[in-house]
């Protein structure tokens, strides 16, 4: 019983998904680009505006729904995932997107996030990770590397940060991916893949907060460095990267190693990306931590892992149908009367 969403009759453009509200992020904020890519991806997908809902929590990123000319819910801090779970269970027919920040999703909302992932409702989560609390003017978040100096940590934060995608994988997420604000094409492609996945799609998006954490991801997003620091994952393809695509990743046992692609090493020796391999996906999420022999591992982008598992809201619908099959459609009068009645005359 898979739920089909109807497509729009008239082809809409990205602009048709923009609401009439003035966008109020800081000039230069990475959120602008993400907004644009989401709008044009929705147009590409061809979903109807009235069948689409954006649910967010609280944070700069969570202002997102106001800018979408769809249905929208700006919920409470950390609760977008919880609210969307109810909405999607009630209304499996709605194309549901959750927009959240690293504070919203990982700090106050961490529990609802992992529970949504395990239940695997068919929704898309866009986690705008800027490694900072933007809206409250710059405190460290659970995604900020230890030692980050902020208003609330003038001597450096002391909390070991989460590895967001590793956490999600630990919570039995069925789809994890990473993209960034500054690569529109990549972002659109990942958004489309997320939308296609049946189940909870978790997309971490590196987003620059140019006011409180400017340049947190510049090594991965700027031309000068990006080639050697990022790895584009493609299913079935060997892990190759580098400005000249002359570097690759090999597995030495369970340890990823960066190798130069020259006479002695061919692409055949390289690790071939397999989206369905949970263990390897786990290693990829840990490319932060693992010190590779002599060389820093690049940061992977793309779809790390994808798994097909039944979807909560469908199971709910199926169980209701089963109940009706077994007991018959509920009859209110019998329910009111119960099993034992007597009459007073």
């Amino acid at each position: 019983m898979s739920i089909k969403m109807e497509n729009a009759e008239i082809k809409l453009s990205g602009k048709d998904f923009a609401s009439d509200q003035e966008v109020k992020w800081c000039p230069g904020c990475g959120d602008y680009s993400i907004l644009k890519q989401v709008q044009s991806t929705l147009a590409d997908i061809g979903v109807k505006r009235e069948d689409t809902v954006f649910v967010s929590g609280i944070g700069c990123s969570s202002r997102f729904p106001y800018y979408m000319n769809t249905y929208g819910v700006h919920s409470l801090h950390g609760r977008a995932t919880a609210l969307a779970s109810g909405l999607k269970t009630a209304r499996p027919d709605l194309n549901t997107w959750i927009v959240t920040g690293d504070g919203d999703a990982l700090s106050i909302g961490g529990n609802h996030l992992i529970h949504l992932l395990r239940r695997n409702l068919n929704v898309n989560i866009l986690l705008f990770n800027n490694e900072i609390y933007g809206l409250t003017k710059g405190q460290y978040s659970p995604a900020s590397p230890k030692g980050t100096i902020t208003k609330s940590s003038p001597m450096g934060s002391l909390d070991h940060s989460f590895n967001p995608l590793a956490l999600c994988l630990g919570a039995d997420s069925t789809f994890i991916a990473r993209s960034m604000d500054r690569d529109p094409k990549h972002l659109r492609a990942i958004l489309a893949e997320a939308n296609n996945h049946i189940g909870t799609s978790m997309v971490e998006i590196y987003q620059n907060c140019n006011v409180f954490n400017d340049g947190a991801f510049f090594t991965f997003t700027e031309k000068a460095t990006k080639g050697n620091t990022t790895l584009q994952l493609e299913h079935g393809q060997p892990l190759i990267f580098g400005d000249n695509r002359d570097l690759g990743i090999k597995l030495d046992g369970f340890k990823p190693v960066v190798v130069a692609l020259d006479e002695s090493t061919s692409t055949d020796d390289l690790w071939v990306h397999d989206e369905s391999d949970q263990v390897k996906a786990g290693i990829l999420t840990r490319f932060f931590d693992i010190p590779s022999a002599g060389m820093t591992l690049p940061r992977p982008f793309g779809v790390f892992y994808k798994e097909s598992r039944s979807v909560y809201e469908e199971d709910v619908a199926i169980q209701i149908n089963q109940a009706i099959e077994i007991k018959g459609e509920g009859d209110l009068n019998s329910l009111l009367a119960g099993a034992n009645t007597w009459e007073v005359i």
């Binding site: 609280i58 249905y71 929208g72 409470l76 109810g86 009706i324 329910l335 009367a337 119960g338 007597w342």
Partner: protein, 614 residues
Amino acid sequence: MVETKEEKKTVTILFAGDSGDGMQLTGSQFTNTNALFGNDVSTFPDFPAEIRAPQGTIAGVSGFQLNFGSVDVFTPGDNADVLVAMNAAALKASLLKLKIGGTIIVNLSGFDKKNLRLAGFLNDENPLTDSSLGKYRVLEMDVTKLTRACLADTGMTVKHIDRSKNMFVLGVLYWMYNRKLDTTLDFFKVKFKGKQDLIDANTKVLTAGYYFGDTSEIFTSRYEVKPAPLSKGVYRNIMGNQATAIGLIAAVRKANLDLFYGSYPITPASDILHELAKHKNFGVKTYQAEDEIAAICAAIGASFGGHLGVTTSSGPGIALKGEALGYAAILELPLVVINVQRGGPSTGLPTKTEQSDLMQALYGRNGEAPIPVVAPCTPSDCFDVIYEAARIAVEHMTPVFFLSDGYIANGSEPWSFPLAKDLVPIKVKKLSAGGDDEKYRPYVRNEKLVRDWAIPGVKGLEHRVGGLEKENETGNVSYDPANHELMVKLRAKKVANISDTIPDQNIEIGEDSGKVLVLGWGSTFGACKTAVTELVKDGVEVSQAHVRYLNPLPKNLGDLISRFDKVLVPEINDGQFVKLIRDKYLVDAIPFNKIMGIPFSSQEIKEKVLEILG
């Protein structure tokens, strides 16, 4: 054997035993049989917080009190006429609740050395053998031994056999009160379906108990409690939580809505979840969330999606929902919030009853976020009041608080249930298409100040809602000072307006003016009604009014109150509703409080009324 038959108007029986002794089952079977016979019945189960507290100890005692009569009964009885004590701890824990001169049926093997010690009787002390029970009539029987004997040849283990001993006692009581065994025999067939040996064994023990009454010499009389003059109609027995659950289903059916029930288990509210989960064939979606916050947020999400979102908890869980309650209030979406109150503060007394979450319901969130509050006053009233809660929620686009409590939730009474067709209609105004406006304006209001319910999937109604202050009509985020004041006032007025749609406050018992008004709410109803009825009979100038709508209050309440010299407000808390009354009407209403995790007795109310009359 001489058999005298004594007629009784009401009888209160308290079954008390170990948590494992099946007293709840015994009590409810006896209740059902009496109800089906035609008595009016009221019950009150009282069990320990531990799943199975240490066997034989006071902490492990589980009680079930029921009051049945040939006249209307409004409470499970102040004091018991009969106490069934399955062991020494049960006797010790319950004796205070027995009337002087009352009957104690004791299970002898529950008074062996070990049991006496566990119950805290000192060396060789034994209430059965010393004179400490002199004021009562004690009927001893060795239930354990008799049951074992009865099932000796079945090949069952002793452990299994002992589980049936409550049925022996039940049989004895059926004999005493001259009741048929049919209801319970039918019950065996359903409960042990497919296990004929268990059906046979229980039938055997129940019947043995009945004949034991008949043949043994220890009983000198049987009692007769005739059917009560209940109004004509078809009745069933119902518990409060059950009534709440089916009330919700009835409401969504009549409103043509789907029910989404987001909850996280907590005593004494979980049974509503359990009951609803049985009725998936009504399309009910029960959602066991990861916590109370997720539960209410999911329910809000479902309401945004066009379902009736409902969420339930008890005190501590409700405390967690405060932020989301304010959110639901500012969104102006329908939501029913059920609090089955228990003893507080904090984790408090999880299995005991209390009315101490009223202030939390009225004020437990940030900012100005008034929410309607309603409270049922008896188990079956839960049906009517939850139905009203649902009606108000969807007709006025607002979260609504339903304040039940452990006493009502677990208590039961006969209920002349309605027919589906006779339930008042619930008018839902979901928009089915976009309007003429180019941009849909979600916070435009009708003459009652209620906005429309615009549900995803409908073209032309795309809109965004959120917890920031909204511009009037458009719902766009607005920081405008004057707009904020306007919106706060509009939301408050919308809730206040509900008083136009609710009945005037009535006088339950007594004249509509006089010396004392007993003004209650929630589960004190029965005790107040019994007390005031008796006082009125005695010629005391006292009346009773009982409030089901706590916010907004009925319009005529101030006027009604003003016609009495004194207003007494009994509550199972430290004085909460009384604050509301004093603030609102500036009358020197007198608080009368009991904070013991147990209900008032009607006697206590009577005495207090007489006391303030001087």
